[in-house]
């Protein structure tokens, strides 16, 4: 493809790299004053998601300002339920809120299977971003994992326990599977559209993986992750199942290139469980970026040493917290980029 910097693609594929590539989850976001300036000129978060030129602009900001080795398209995992028929609001400081939720089989039947056309604002944002990036670094596309999207569609908002969503798995497993399948079909359509538009890697976020029991994760999340991984063969795929430490051995069986680790997951232990055929991504505690520069350097180097040079994409173990000093983020990035294995 002729990227000036294709480190992340080569690392995902297990090829040789000169150094470890680095990017941050939520790098296009509130940590950057330049992002906040764009965001504050609009009515809300969703307007930014749905305005391709501006979404592209904030996607590219961290490449220019922080020097990361990949861009990730600015969007939201909840565009999928919206495209299926459930609109949501992003309530300031509280998170997403759905007016209508899924409570019956009839609700599921009424949902449409989304196509890439239904999400043309993100597809268009990807096209603009690709053009403006001009092959400097690869672009990551993404979607939520079906289980995580399902949780929001049942609960209607975030939750500490997601017990309504989990209740549904016990009381109406058939409804759950039908909904999960519709989400999966929609997600595959969407991701294929992202790839056609130019996404070079795909990441699947299973943000609420950690609230399922190991048994239920196998039944209600894994088969749908598998369908997505099997369907996406065009580009490397990363699966980040936050909190699903118990599922690392089965995640390792997925046809994906990279497994994301959160900061609770031991690096060496994860490598032993997952084996040598996957790239690992992560996993510095985002709170380390609140520490002194010398402490950030120390902990980043320790992380890099433990992962080793090949098959590692440096990142935090979760999205960067909004109140993190951008200079501390740069310290993390520069430490990775200058590290000699």
């Amino acid at each position: 493809m002729g990227y000036q910097n294709d480190l992340i693609l080569r690392s995902a594929r297990g090829e040789q790299v000169e150094r470890t590539p680095v990017w941050l989850m939520r790098q296009a976001g509130r940590i950057l004053p330049e992002y906040r300036a764009v965001r504050n000129s609009l009515s809300g978060f969703k307007e930014l998601v749905e305005t391709p030129e501006l979404a592209a602009e904030v996607t590219i900001q961290p490449v220019d300002l922080l020097g990361v080795d990949a861009a990730i398209i600015f969007s939201d995992i909840l565009v999928i339920p919206e495209a299926m028929g459930l609109t949501y609001k992003m309530v300031e400081k509280q998170g997403p809120w759905f007016e209508k939720t899924i409570q019956s089989l009839d609700d599921v039947v009424k949902l449409k299977i989304a196509t890439a056309e239904d999400l043309d604002y993100t597809i268009e944002a990807i096209k603009i971003t690709k053009k403006e990036l001009n092959n400097r670094v690869p672009l990551i596309g993404f979607a939520g994992a079906p289980w995580t999207i399902f949780s929001y569609m049942i609960e209607g908002s975030g939750s500490k326990t997601f017990s309504k969503a989990r209740k549904m798995l016990f009381t109406e497993p058939e409804l759950a599977h039908q909904l999960l399948q519709k989400i999966t079909d929609s997600t595959i359509n969407y991701l294929k559209g992202q790839i056609v538009a130019g996404a070079d890697i795909i990441q699947i976020f299973d943000s609420w993986a950690g609230i399922l029991s190991p048994q239920q994760y196998e039944i209600f999340s894994m088969p749908y992750l598998k369908q997505i991984c099997d369907a996406i063969q065009e580009v490397p795929v990363t699966v980040f199942a936050k909190g699903a430490y118990f599922a690392r051995h089965t995640l390792a069986q997925l046809d994906c290139n990279t497994i994301g680790l959160d900061w609770n997951m031991g690096i060496q232990e994860s490598r032993n469980i997952i084996g040598d055929n996957k790239t690992l991504q992560g996993n510095l505690d985002p709170c380390v970026l609140y520490a002194s520069y010398s402490e950030i350097e120390k902990q980043t180097k320790e992380m890099l040493r433990t992962f080793g040079k090949s098959r590692h994409i440096a990142n935090l173990g979760h999205g960067v917290y909004p109140d993190t000093d951008p200079d501390k983020v740069k310290c993390f990035i520069e430490t990775v980029k200058s590290y000699q294995h």
Copy 2:
């Protein structure tokens, strides 16, 4: 002591039992209409905590109504910060809220080390409960783990990430240790008072254990848990560190009798990591109680079979959810009580 039913004490100590004992976290609570009747007659949750006669009444309800093998004193882990000088409100449907939080070393210095006398309402509730229980079953006393209490004292409320509390560990580790020590000293005073008043077992709840990295858990939680376990030699101690799967091998080194498991933790895996010298408590997914009676029986039996007869105290892997049908709770309890190993 001459209990009619001392199964839980014997199981905690690794002695022989005729059958597995069973109780539920949050058994004295909103699942019972009889609890809601008492609660609704008052101005709020805290009035119930602070009225010994009524706290004793709701403590005993699940013994009478559900047939559990232990009572747990009705109280709240946040009585400790309040006794130290930070008052809180319990906001309906939102959880605890502290008007003032700890932000500086000066704030820490101003806090007092709580004594059992500062928490006389709970001590009195324990005395009344013991009298009314009349040795039918043992009474569990409890407190929050220092790390969990620390989190609330910094954040001032619940949080998805507890990033303010975790930030403090990186930016002001000395302040953190001083505060954790004051909480620990207060907690030991409180627990000693509970034991003198009649508590037969002590449980330490480290509810936010799972948001720390393995390294930070060793530094900021474990030493304080150790101090508490070392100080409490009078009665069996249970440590429930929710989400701290990564710390099971070090939790096993504590001088306690029982380790609580959440529903993410594999039973056999946990036994292998923790060894045979601890009793394990847990760990059915609370959402299983939303399933059919036959499914509850099936999953409960499967759990009992996997744990084995000795060194197991049956429980859920988290507090029972408030909207659970009490008849489903009874089904869980009866299944445990009638199970033939």
